[in-house]
């Protein structure tokens, strides 16, 4: 089972996204989707994953919870601080040339950025690409 962490505070986005991902297969293997809506929740999940099983992909919203613009960044900083590696796809409503680009520059784990709104197929394509790249390396 591939493990995906979906960190998104808006349930209207997170719930359909998780449902979609659970229905997908990569290399004939389905995904175990873990949903979180708070940075602290994400950090707990990541901390647990270090001892248990690492996440293959993390889909991360930058602004969470609510209107906190630093939530996503806090998660990335946590990962960097704890030396937790997992490719991250940032899904944010910010456009380019904004905070998304800055985190991409600041954190090497950020492998892709999806700008809301996007069709779920696009998210899947991004996940596939990331997984392929990870596999290559």
């Amino acid at each position: 089972m591939w493990r995906i962490l979906v960190a998104e505070d808006d349930p209207a986005i997170r719930i359909p996204m998780a449902r979609f991902l659970r229905e997908q297969k990569y290399r004939n293997t389905r995904f175990d989707v873990i949903e979180v809506y708070h940075p602290k929740q994400a950090q707990d999940a990541l901390r647990d994953s270090k001892s248990d099983q690492a996440f293959d992909v993390i889909v991360l919203d930058l602004v969470m919870p609510g209107n906190n613009p630093e939530g996503g960044r806090q998660v990335l900083e946590f990962m960097a601080g704890k030396e937790i590696y997992a490719p991250v796809i940032v899904a944010t409503a910010y456009g380019y040339d904004g905070p998304a680009d800055r985190v991409r520059q600041d954190f090497s784990v950020v492998k892709g950025v999806l700008t809301k709104s996007f069709p779920l197929e696009e998210l899947w394509k991004a996940i596939e690409t990331v997984l392929e790249e990870e596999r290559d390396t």
């Binding site: 209207a12 719930i15 979609f20 940075p39 209107n67 906190n68 944010t92 809301k116």
Partner: protein, 1236 residues
């Protein structure tokens, strides 16, 4: 008997029948002709007529012999009674027959004779007083006696008040009753002139072809006649012709020549009558004199009314014609070397010349001749001889018409119109009447002359005074004193008829430094006239001039060689150098102080009347006004240049250097100084450096002047340090030289040169706004050069130099501020602006320290100080000592570390209590024990809308150079700087805020879109199927509703107004349920349990707007309040919604348990685009702004309140006028039911 006879007063003569004298008593002997000693024939003995054979026709003795009866008669004799007595006499003769006793035969006659001359003449004189008739009778009696010489008729013509006219006065014989109607004059009686000029009687036989009746109408057929002039000759006056006596015989009578031997007695007779007639005429003239007096009185009145000297002279000429009855009369006035005709009698119109030249017309003009007389004050009376010579000269020069005129004249009187010794003009009176000028006429003419000369003199003096008084008003001065005074000085020279007029300023007030500075010289001797020059010179006697002018108010020296008037020094300066023999000087005072002198100079000896002295003093006053005006104009010119030239945009540096140069040049020119320089002080280094210099700078001296002067060094350093001016009248004094050497360490050689070259020196501080900007130095080559007026002048220029410097510095600092603030404004980030501000402030405000706080920082610090006094700003541990100058003065930002001062506290207090209102600034200063000043300046940085964004503070421990604090200009500059910075900050804040706002708005708008797109995508892909996935689809629909709400709010906030109102009744419970339904997922996610308390069944409002407003508030609770709380998966959250109707108002309150909003921000969160300072969560500044728009549209308000239970959190309260909306809707409904 002989003894008896000898004692008788009467003469007794005994004459026999042969007319031989037989006996004479002593008295009779005395009556005989001198030399006659023997008894002989009587007419031979008595009259000396040795050839005559017949006795005298009128002889009573002859008649005794004819009829033997006694006879008496009066006879005329030219025999002298004595040797001394040469007069002629009348003798009364009583002739008695002398008969022989024997035969009673007539043997002879006894003549008893006595001298009755006096009796007759006295009788005549006596009758003068009895009136003309009595006098006429007496004269006719005398004429009767004369006629006994052998004439039938005698007439006496005497002169009248008109010298041209003679009237018949008395007659004997025929026509004696009609004689008074006869009038004779030169034209009607051609013999009149000849008789006047004749030395004795004349025989007249014809009348130039005219018949006698045409002359007098009385004479009848022409007969020859005799005319004898009656003339009086006094020693002291010219002869006077008083009348003439004519004698003739009837045409039918004896021949005139029968009595030729007695004609000579006519002269005797005329000689006796003339004085009596003159006396009578003189007596009669009393009326005439009264008439003259009256005419002179009228003349005086007419003169007073005449408005010009020409009119006055014309009046005098007319009066002369009236009083003196001349043939011609004119007045000439002197104008330089000319005599100009100013008034003349009409008879002179075609003849008299307008101008005669005093040099060229000496022989052809009587007026010019008078000017050349030694004593021109006495009249010159020309007789025919003199006139003829002049006529010959005229004829020789080809002016025959004028020559003819002169030849026709009998006399001409020329009277000088004098003023002292000067000839102002001439009065010329000409007549064809010989002996025209008697005493009366001369006296009358003198009366007129006196009037004329008084008038001319007064007029010329008045004219002079007028010309002098007009000097300052007629001649507009320019900035150049020499140019300005060139013409006025020429005018003064002309008025005073001076050879030279000089305006000079005293070069020194010290006897040791006698010098005179000549501003302008008008020299009449040079061509072209009025050459001006300007030089400064050693002038022996200048101090004496000062003393005399101060003491006496003027100095008049008629003769510089006379030691009574002037000293040797004066003589040397004036006579030997300038060739001046006499001069008159008047002082020129400026502001009550002797400044200089105005001198009129003459090459010849000359007296100076008091009037000229006062006139020159008046001229000096006028000149002083012009000097003042010139000085003021120069100052105004400088002022103009300061205002015109010192404007930003010009090459201001070149401009103000040129200006300073100009100021210095003007100052040198006006004060006659040798050289000078202006130093400006570098505020950072404190050194004075030379900006401008003028003078005889040599190469080595250039280095001297160019060197910077440190504070306290040399005189300038002292002046700059203390701000007090220094004037040294004598630099050679030991005290000053020692002081200079002491101050000028390392300047030895240059100081020696300075002391050798300069004699007096003055240095003024250039002070503006209480700040010493530099020094203004000026020097003179004479000891005691700096009079008070010069010092005052230099001070004026120094003041202007200071103004120019200040303006230059202002511009420089303004430009610097503009450049630096542009750099600040151009900063990319707000933090860069804040960091740059102190550096800019230090440079622009020339401060040692600068510090800037953003308002929040400042507020936080003040709060900290208030709660924890130990955290207060550090106090300098050297608070009781002087601050040492910083090594990096003016070089940038130095952190704040000085002692706090009162002004700062004041500002802080104001900011704390009234941050929005604070607009003032503080200018404070602390005087340190040494006299230095610790000054600081605090200014708020306030945005244009009055919002305080920061505080700027600059600090000078030492103050600016000169120990002074910040100036008013600094304050203004700081205010300007802060304003610009505030604008820059506001702009940058706005830009960054807008950026964030757009970013946040984009984010918030796109967030609801994602669920919608997901639902639609999944439906399209067939992964969602209804009704299985109804909840998923419904979630998408709720977000569509949320998206619409967001879009509408964004639009409304962007355009600044709410939707159009569509009021209806709302069910509040249903509305709240619908709102909560939108947030159902989040409520579940965050385990938030809303508590609703809804009491009214309905409220009134625009449903969509109220719905969006509540959505907005609930969204804020879920986006900001709840998520910011610490994550606790087990905790539950809550918020309360209540809907009430309170009175007329509907009230919706939403209370949360979040971190709350600070009171300072509670009002601002409703502003469009405002973002709170909270770091954990940040809105985009649209939601609450939209809520406020909605409430305002509903005539209501929205506010943030503390929770009533005092717990953490905030209450959002919506409150609007429910009743009003309700009423509006009902009225609308009624209107709809009953259409008009």
């Amino acid at each position: 008997v002989p003894i008896l006879h000898s004692q008788l007063d009467n003469g007794i003569a005994v004459i026999d029948r042969s007319f031989r004298i037989r006996y004479l008593n002593d008295r009779m002997r005395q009556m005989r002709r001198p030399g006659a000693q023997q008894l002989g024939v009587c007419w031979m003995e008595f009259d000396g007529h040795f050839q005559r054979k017949q006795p005298c026709p009128w002889c009573p003795v002859k008649r005794v012999f004819e009829d033997g009866k006694p006879h008496e008669g009066v006879t005329i004799s030219d025999l002298a009674v004595s040797d001394e007595d040469q007069d002629y006499h009348f003798f009364a003769v009583n002739a008695l027959p002398l008969r022989d006793p024997d035969n009673h035969a007539l043997i002879g006659a006894i003549g008893v004779v006595h001298d009755c001359t006096e009796e007759i003449l006295d009788e005549c004189r006596a009758t003068i007083l009895k009136g003309k008739e009595a006098f006429r009778t007496a004269l006719e009696k005398v004429l009767g006696i004369v006629c006994k010489l052998g004439f039938d008729r005698a007439r006496l013509y005497i002169g009248t008040d008109n010298p041209h006219q003679f009237v018949g006065f008395a007659a004997f014989g025929q026509h004696n009753k009609d004689i008074s109607v006869i009038r004779l004059d030169l034209d009607t009686d051609p013999h009149l002139r000849a008789t006047m000029l004749a030395s004795g009687f004349r025989e007249c036989t014809e009348l130039n072809g005219k018949s006698p009746p045409e002359i007098d109408g009385l004479r009848g057929p022409m007969t020859p006649w005799l005319e004898a002039p009656l003339r009086v000759q006094n020693d002291e006056s010219p002869p006077v012709f008083v009348g003439k006596l004519t004698l003739d015989n009837k045409p039918s009578g004896r021949s005139l020549t029968d009595n030729r031997e007695y004609w000579h007695l006519l002269d005797v007779f005329a000689g006796m009558l003339a004085p009596i007639i003159a006396e009578a005429q003189d007596h009669w003239r009393w009326k005439e004199r009264a008439s003259h007096t009256e005419k002179l009185r009228h003349l005086d009145e007419a003169l007073l009314q005449a408005d010009s000297i020409q009119t006055q002279m014309e009046v005098i000429v007319n009066c002369a014609r009236d009083l003196l009855k001349p043939d011609w009369c004119h007045i000439r006035l002197r104008e330089g070397n000319k005599l100009l005709l100013i008034a003349n009698s009409p008879e002179d119109d075609d003849r008299v010349r307008n101008t005669v030249d005093i040099e060229d017309d000496r022989e052809t003009s009587l007026s010019v001749d008078l000017v050349h007389q030694d004593c021109p004050s006495k009249p010159v009376i020309w007789t025919e001889d003199g006139l003829k010579k002049t006529a010959d000269c005229l004829r020789a020069k080809g002016r025959s018409a004028t020559a003819d005129h002169f030849e026709s004249l009998s006399c001409s009187g020329v009277f000088g119109l004098m003023s002292g010794r000067d000839v102002l003009g001439t009065l010329v009176i000409q007549s064809r009447i010989p002996f025209f000028f008697d005493e009366t006429r001369i006296a009358l003419a003198n009366d007129l002359v006196q009037r004329a000369q008084v008038l001319i003199d007064a007029s010329q003096r008045l004219d002079k005074h007028f010309k002098i008084e007009q000097l300052s008003s007629r001649h507009s001065p320019t900035g150049n004193l020499t140019e300005s005074l060139e013409e006025p000085l020429q005018r003064i020279g002309e008025v005073f008829k001076a050879d030279r007029a000089v305006l000079a300023e005293f070069g020194s007030i010290d006897p040791a430094g006698e010098a005179l500075y000549l501003w302008a010289v008008a020299d009449a001797r040079e061509e072209p006239r009025g050459v001006t020059l300007c030089y400064q010179a050693d002038f022996p006697g200048a101090y004496e001039l000062i003393q005399r002018l101060t003491r006496d108010g003027a100095m008049a020296v008629p003769d510089v060689t006379d030691e009574r008037y002037a000293s040797e020094a004066i003589r040397r300066s004036f006579l030997e150098i300038a060739g001046v023999r006499a001069f008159l000087a008047a002082p020129i005072f400026l502001s009550g102080e002797l400044w200089g002198t105005l001198i009129v100079e003459y090459c010849d000896f000359r007296e100076f009347p008091c009037s000229e002295v006062s006139l020159l003093r008046a001229a000096a006053t006028q000149v002083s006004l012009m000097v003042l005006a010139c000085q003021q104009l120069q100052l105004r010119d400088i002022d103009h240049r300061i205002s015109a030239g010192m404007t930003p945009g010009h090459d201001y540096e070149a401009s103000y250097r040129s200006l300073l140069d100009n100021i210095l040049q003007h100052a040198l020119q006006l004060t006659g100084c040798h050289g000078g320089h202006i130093r400006t002080i570098d505020w950072a280094t404190g050194e004075a450096v030379t900006h401008v210099e003028i003078g005889e700078t040599r190469v080595d001296e250039e280095r001297y002047w160019r060197r910077a002067v440190k504070l306290g060094h040399l005189v300038e350093g002292e002046v700059a340090k203390t701000g007090r001016e220094r004037v040294v009248q004598d630099v050679t004094t030991d005290v000053f030289a020692q002081e200079l050497r002491r101050l000028a360490v390392g300047w030895g050689e240059e100081i020696q040169q300075f002391l050798h070259r300069e004699k007096s020196y003055a240095c003024f501080p250039l002070i503006a706004d209480d700040e010493v900007l530099g020094t203004f130095s000026i020097s003179g080559v004479h000891i005691g050069h700096f009079t008070n007026s010069r010092l005052r002048t230099v001070r004026e220029f120094a003041r202007r130099a200071a103004l120019a410097l200040r303006a230059a510095r202002y511009i420089e600092r303004m430009r610097m501020m503009m450049a630096l603030t542009n750099r600040v404004i151009g900063a990319e980030h707000l933090k860069d602006i804040w960091n740059t501000i102190p550096r800019v402030a230090v440079e622009v405000l020339q401060a040692e320290y600068a510090e800037v706080f953003s308002y929040s920082q400042y507020r936080d610090r003040l709060r900290r100080e208030a709660t924890h006094p130990s955290d207060a700003m550090p106090v300098d541990d050297r608070e009781n000592r002087e601050f040492e100058p910083s090594a990096d003065v003016g070089c940038g930002f130095v952190p704040y570390s000085a002692k706090r001062l009162e002004p700062l506290d004041l500002v802080e207090n104001q900011i704390t209590s009234h941050p929005q209102r604070h607009r003032s600034e503080a200018l404070g200063a602390l005087h340190l024990p040494s006299g230095r000043v610790h000054s600081l300046l605090v200014c708020p940085i306030m945005k244009p809308d009055g919002t305080l964004v920061g505080i700027l503070r600059v600090d000078n421990r030492l103050g600016r150079f000169g120990g002074l604090g910040f100036t008013e200009f600094d304050r203004l500059l700081m205010e300007l700087l802060c304003n610009k910075l505030a604008v820059a900050i506001a702009w940058r804040q706005l830009a960054e805020g807008r950026e964030r706002s757009v970013l946040a708005a984009t984010h918030d708008l796109k967030s609801p879109l994602q669920p919608i797109r997901t639902v639609l995508g999944e439906l399209q892909a067939g992964r969602y199927q209804l009704p299985r996935d109804y909840d998923e689809v419904r979630r998408g629909c709720r977000h569509a509703l949320l998206l619409e709400s967001l879009i509408m709010d964004t639009l409304n906030v962007a355009r600044g107004q709410a939707d159009s109102m569509d009021v209806s009744s709302l069910d509040p419970k249903r509305l709240i349920d619908e709102v909560l339904d939108i947030f159902q997922d989040k409520l579940e996610q965050y385990r938030v349990v809303p508590t609703c308390s809804i009491t009214p069944q309905s409220i009134w409002g625009t449903r969509a707007m109220i719905f969006r407003a509540v959505v907005n508030i609930c969204s804020n609770v879920l986006e900001h309040a709840v998520p910011t709380m610490e994550y606790d998966p087990k905790a539950t959250n809550a918020f309360e919604i209540s809907v009430r109707v309170e009175g007329k108002e509907a009230v919706i309150r939403v209370s949360d348990h979040g971190p709350g909003i600070s009171k300072e921000e509670r009002e601002r969160v409703f502003e469009s685009g405002y973002q709170t300072n909270a770091t954990s969560t940040r809105g985009h500044g649209i939601g609450l702004a939209a809520v406020r728009l909605t409430m305002r549209a509903h005539d209501g308000e929205v506010r943030l309140l503390d929770r009533p239970d005092g717990k953490r959190g905030v209450v959002v309260e919506l409150r609007w006028n429910n009743d009003k909306l309700k009423k509006q809707v009902r009225e609308k409904d009624v209107g709809a039911s009953f259409p008009p």
